[in-house]
Assembly symmetry: C2
Homo-oligomer: 178 residues x 2
């Protein structure tokens, strides 16, 4: 329900191919709150075109395969503007590791600690990835930049919350009577 609008949001800035959307937009700026794989993006672009929210044209290239470039239409802009005001309910939290933890009483404490440490390592990597993104701001569009920074900031805060919780959880489980 939101992927088409993420795509419209990007096309609002400039026309793009599916490949560009994936490599330049999804994998770079917005991966931390919405990800999509290539076939998904291409399929969605077809649907967007069917609905008249974008048009596409082939751009001939001689050094590389031809590209199909999508441009947003007025109808697409209108749809996006409408959607921008719609309330989006917070997504359900669904995390397999928490099922494990919830039912981990049958494990020895050191096994539970191992689970927690695996998660801690993953979250620390995530923190490092956020730190690497930090630098990529151009400074030319302060309003856009402030909002982009906000979404990044949330991702970082959540990651820190996980790390602190995992550290506390490890200490707690170590102190648990078996």
């Amino acid at each position: 329900m939101s992927l088409p609008h993420a795509i419209l949001g990007i096309l609002g800035y400039m026309p793009m191919t599916g490949y560009d959307l994936k490599t330049q937009a999804f994998d770079k700026s917005i991966a931390h709150f919405w990800s999509a794989v290539l076939p998904q993006i291409y399929r969605e672009l077809e649907r967007i075109e069917e609905k008249g929210w974008a048009t596409s044209s082939i751009e001939i290239q001689h050094d590389r395969p031809n590209r199909r470039v999508y441009s947003i239409t007025d109808a697409g802009r209108a749809e996006f503007a409408r959607w921008l005001h719609e309330f989006q309910p917070p997504p359900a939290h669904r995390e397999a590791f928490l099922i494990q933890l919830f039912f981990a009483a049958q494990l020895r404490s050191d096994e539970i600690v191992a689970l927690l440490e695996g998660q801690l390592a993953a979250r620390q990597e995530q923190r490092a990835r956020f730190a690497a993104l930090e630098s990529a701001f151009d400074g030319d569009h302060p309003r856009e930049e402030a909002l982009a920074r906000l979404t990044l900031d949330l991702g970082e805060r959540i990651t820190e919350t996980y790390i602190a919780w995992l550290e506390d959880a490890i200490a707690l489980v170590k102190a648990l009577p078996s």
Copy 2:
């Protein structure tokens, strides 16, 4: 991939019907980290039985419709124990509201603030729901209880993180030049 294991985890404590799983387990203790709707649970129970991880039998009732009660098998316990040690990668963060915020530069600041306030209200309700759950601990199984509390605690911390971030974001957007 995890729903069957959540079900096995519950059946490990006692035999249950699909309806019980939904109303007693999913909607109560574990809704804050894994949710499922009724048809999904019934379908999954069929698959679990096909794989030999549980058996079912009809329990005749006279005041209400008959119930199909599922019991975990040794193979089911073995599968669950095996799965308990498997690393579960953190799920991708996918939140429609963050797409809105990221692309909200075209909105007036007061419109952005309205979006943020909608999310704030939703997260405050979530906090209230967590507070209501707090009390439901029996105290008979300290190990199980400690782990259940841990999962609840994470949910609460994440909710607080959102609330603090939303409050900061509102202040920031209000101060933004248009």
